[in-house]
């Protein structure tokens, strides 16, 4: 809980569904300034007290004045989508100061590609050094050094319903973890800490491929044995890939790793899961893309993971197979057949 004498509001930047959830969580402990680029959204929040179908806590005040936020707040929670993340940080950089702290809640990568190229292009080659996690973007684009991230099995809808949940705040700085925890911890959100921010950030993104695969298994009508098989071998592939990218393993066994993976793979409502299920029903990627407004994060993750596995020489049979389903028209049934015949060898070989 925040100190009663602590008169500074906390900021949330980006009014998407997760940003809204975070703003409401923070509001239980004190005043919150909630940034949205869109004037209508700001008005709706301030007048109708609701956003994204969620009621807003009375402590939340919306604004689209970045300068006001930077002047009044020391602690900020950027929650923009990964696509617009760099742009937003860049636009606020002039207002940022060395005593600001940022704990981002965005599970995604920023990837520098040549102009005109997409991460889904088959001829694009990725090295681990091409991958920027959101904390690296903040460090690169602003003078803020005290960065952290919040990640874990935190499905926005469930938190909005006030179901209990736990999360991880990761930062190299004890100070950031302390500030973040006292700002957001409440009776409905348990907070754990981790110093390995890079691993926690990787875990939050790399799990998406497995969510897609889980959807495919669900779409084929398979049950919990198959799901457990996927989750356990999936975490193995994620760990191997992350290790090849220079991360440590430990964080992957925690909430942000296995915790988040279990939540995503067993939640049929997520966009990733839906794409997987549609693939299992025989729809092609092209068709799926043409009928949905947003590219599911998982499709990008599969492409990124596959490219990274190739450039680092990492063994990732599940990722390779989903890639073939998505981009090389392999049928889901055949893909599963291939994985069932694959010689895995020793069980927990990734520790």
């Amino acid at each position: 809980m925040r100190n009663a004498s602590d008169k500074y509001p906390v900021a949330v930047i980006g009014a998407g569904s997760f940003g809204t959830v975070v703003a409401n969580l923070l509001a239980e402990n004190g005043e919150v300034l909630f940034y949205s680029r869109r004037k209508e959204a700001v008005e709706a929040i301030n007048k109708e007290r609701s956003n994204n179908g969620q009621a807003m806590h009375p402590n939340v005040k919306a604004t689209n004045d970045m300068q006001e936020i930077a002047e009044k707040c020391y602690l900020m929670f950027p929650s923009m989508s990964s696509d617009g993340f760099r742009e937003v940080i860049r636009s606020m950089a002039v207002y940022l100061r060395p005593d600001h702290m940022m704990i981002h809640c965005t599970k995604g990568f920023d990837i520098k590609l040549e102009p005109g190229k997409s991460i889904l292009d088959r001829d694009v080659v990725l090295q681990p050094s091409d991958i920027y996690t959101m904390s690296k973007v903040i460090l690169e684009e602003s003078c803020v050094k005290r960065v952290g991230c919040m990640s874990g099995p935190n499905l926005a809808r469930e938190i909005a319903f006030h179901h209990p949940a736990a999360t991880v705040i990761a930062s190299k700085f004890e100070e950031v973890i302390r500030e973040g925890e006292s700002a957001i911890r409440s009776k409905r959100l348990q907070v754990y800490s981790n110093h390995d921010i890079f691993a926690v950030e990787l875990a939050g993104v790399l799990k998406n491929s497995m969510a897609l695969a889980a959807g495919a298994l669900g779409g084929l009508g398979y049950g919990q044995n198959a799901m457990a098989f996927l989750i356990t071998r999936g975490i193995g592939e994620i760990i191997r890939l992350a290790t090849a990218m220079g991360a440590d393993k430990q964080a992957f066994l925690g909430l942000a790793g296995i915790g988040d993976l279990v939540a995503t793979c067993t939640s049929p409502l997520s966009r990733n899961y839906t794409v997987g299920a549609r693939l299992a029903k025989g729809e092609t990627l092209e068709y799926i893309l043409s009928t949905s407004s947003e590219v599911a994060e998982g499709i990008k993750t599969v492409s990124i993971s596959k490219k990274l596995a190739d450039s680092t020489g990492t063994k990732t049979p599940i990722i390779q197979t989903i890639y073939k389903v998505l981009f090389e028209e392999l049928k889901v049934e055949e893909a599963l057949g291939y994985l069932m015949e694959y010689r895995w060898g020793y069980d927990a070989d990734y520790m």
């Binding site: 500074y8 020391y74 950089a93 002039v94 100061r97 060395p98 005593d99 602003s142 003078c143 050094k145 005290r146 190299k172 700085f173 004890e174 100070e175 500030e179």
Partner: protein, 556 residues
């Protein structure tokens, strides 16, 4: 030769500090006592640390005695042993025991601080500078001869010892704050050469830590001890010594001493550019900057400037013994030891002779100066962000506007500074022909022989060491092309000879330059015109210089 930014040696910061020697000593001691008690606040933990220190010092006395050690060393530590027994809190009153432990702590720290602290005598500096200039000038004259060389030695020196990078800015900043020079470390001669180079561009003398082993020689000891060197003893790894060293460093930086830190801690054993920065002493720089802000209003607080420096040699004096040590350390039983030759005066003279009399040179490549957070600086030393806007770095030490000491936070900041320094090393590494020719030769051999480990490779017999000339030349070309790409991206620098000469000339120059110094040729062309090596270990050493740039992909 540039005019000195502070004309009178007497006015140099290092001399002002030398005049306050006793004050610095007292401050170091009281600061160490304070910090040590902060880390070990209970009688139990303090006693444990003192016992550990005694234990480690006894081992050192038995296994590694040096000539430079004072005669009463054994006596002193026997005394501590007795006093520890007498102060046993199980036997006597706790308050009395506490007091006795504090006295012991104070005595040990005082002994260490007195050993570490150096001195500076302006006249001695003047004398050493003249002697060194004369020595270098003689070397040129020996080669170039003629009246021109005799009367104009600086002209030649400029071509031999090149100080590249933002020289003017550094000169400017040296009068506005405290400069911490952080060089790569390849050779024992680094400090002499850097000292000479900085004097050459008109900077006042720097303080630097010299290994206590160098003080074994009375001659060196006399000179260095009075030229601003303080003493570092790598044998002493006990907690009290390390804390004393840190406090000493912090006290001096706070007093405004321009300092040279070798952030890798020791000479690079493998010949690579350091990427592992020792955070201990660098942390004292961070703490000093915070204390400046605690003691002064933000706009008046003295600033500390960090300047990474990459040294490029064609050949390294101790190449052979360094790589032996490295292999011994990493290889364990896989590696059969040959004792490397120790550095001798003859070796040093030969090194300078070859460097200055032949067509070869040394580059000291300065990185852009930065504050302790890696921000760029304007000419007045104000910190600028990447948009060129002022940044008030005081607030990095603040929480909600209040300055607050936070060791864990400063440790992370120091790590970040370390990363910035390494970035500077790599970006401003000046590539010489000799680096390229050795890199390609070793990588080609590695690829061709495809052994599972480096040790098997180093034992390869003579006939397997041959590399086809055409293949070699093609790979050199590819590596140079890639170096151009990196150079355009400002990720590396190229020596002028790399850009002005033809491929064949570059290869010949590189091979000749590595070979003029070593008795067993690390790289050579055989009768058939192919590339081979008489000393794979030394070849491996030189090749490591270009590790970390991803150039391996150009091979084969």
């Amino acid at each position: 030769m540039l005019e000195s930014v502070i004309p009178r040696i007497q006015d140099w910061p290092i001399n002002r500090i030398a005049k306050k020697r006793d004050k610095i000593l007292q401050e170091t001691i009281s600061e160490t006592v304070l910090e040590f008690n902060k880390s070990y606040p209970t009688l139990f933990s303090l006693r444990e640390q003192l016992q550990k220190t005694l234990y480690l010092e006894n081992i050192r006395l038995k296994t590694e005695p040096w000539e430079v050690d004072p005669e009463d060393e054994r006596e002193f530590w026997n005394g501590i042993k007795k006093r520890l027994l007498q102060a046993d809190p199980a036997q006597i009153d706790e308050d009395a025991s506490k007091e006795l432990h504090q006295e012991m702590l104070q005595d040990i720290i005082s002994r260490y601080a007195n050993e570490i602290i150096g001195n500076f005598i302006p006249n001695m500096f003047w004398f050493a500078r003249q002697a060194l200039r004369l020595f270098f000038a003689r070397l040129f004259n020996a080669h170039f001869g003629g009246l021109k060389g005799l009367f104009n030695p600086d002209e030649k020196l400029k071509d031999k010892l090149i100080v590249a990078g933002p020289v003017e800015k550094l000169r400017n900043l040296s009068t506005k704050g405290t400069v911490i020079l952080v060089p790569t470390h390849f050779s024992n001669l680094d400090s002499v050469i850097i000292g000479f180079g900085m004097d050459y561009i008109g900077l006042p003398a720097f303080q630097y830590g010299a290994g206590l082993n160098l003080f074994n020689s009375k001659f060196f000891s006399f000179f260095m001890g009075n030229l601003g060197a303080y003493k570092l003893d790598r044998r002493k790894k006990n907690p009290v010594y390390l804390e004393t060293l840190k406090s000493f460093s912090k006290t001096n930086i706070l007093a405004g001493a321009h300092t040279i830190f070798f952030p890798g801690g020791t000479r690079s054993r493998a010949g690579n550019i350091e990427d592992d920065i020792k955070l201990g002493l660098l942390g004292t720089v961070m703490a000093a900057q915070r204390i400046h802000y605690e003691k002064n209003p933000s706009n008046l607080a003295p600033k500390i400037f960090i300047v990474p420096l990459t040294i490029s040699y064609h050949f390294v004096l101790e190449a052979s013994s360094l790589i032996e040590e490295q292999l011994k350390r990493t290889g364990k039983e896989q590696y059969l030891v040959n004792e490397g030759a120790p550095t001798t005066v003859k070796g040093i003279i030969k090194f300078f002779w070859e460097t200055f009399s032949k067509s070869t040179d040394i580059t000291l490549s300065l990185s852009e100066p930065m504050d302790v957070f890696g921000n760029a600086l304007d000419d007045d030393g104000n910190s600028l962000d990447k948009f060129g806007q002022p940044v008030h770095i005081r607030n990095y030490f603040a929480n909600k506007g209040q300055l607050k000491e936070d060791d864990q936070r400063e440790m992370i900041y120091t790590q970040m500074l370390g990363e910035k320094i390494v970035e500077g090393f790599f970006k401003n590494n000046v590539v010489y022909a000799s680096h390229v020719v050795t890199f390609v030769a070793f990588e080609l051999l590695k690829k061709k022989l495809d052994y599972p480990d480096i040790f098997t490779l180093l034992r390869t017999s003579d006939e397997d060491r041959e590399i086809n000339w055409d293949e070699y030349k093609m790979c050199v070309k590819r590596v140079i092309d890639e170096l151009y790409v990196l150079n355009n991206k400002e990720q590396i620098k190229l020596a002028p000879h790399m850009t002005t000469k033809e491929l064949d000339e570059i290869i010949a120059l590189g091979i000749n330059n590595v070979c003029i110094y070593h008795a067993n040729l690390p790289i050579m062309r055989n009768k058939e015109g192919n590339i081979t090596s008489e000393d794979l270990k030394v070849l491996y050493y030189y090749h490591n210089r270009l590790k970390g740039y991803g150039l391996e992909k150009c091979i084969g």
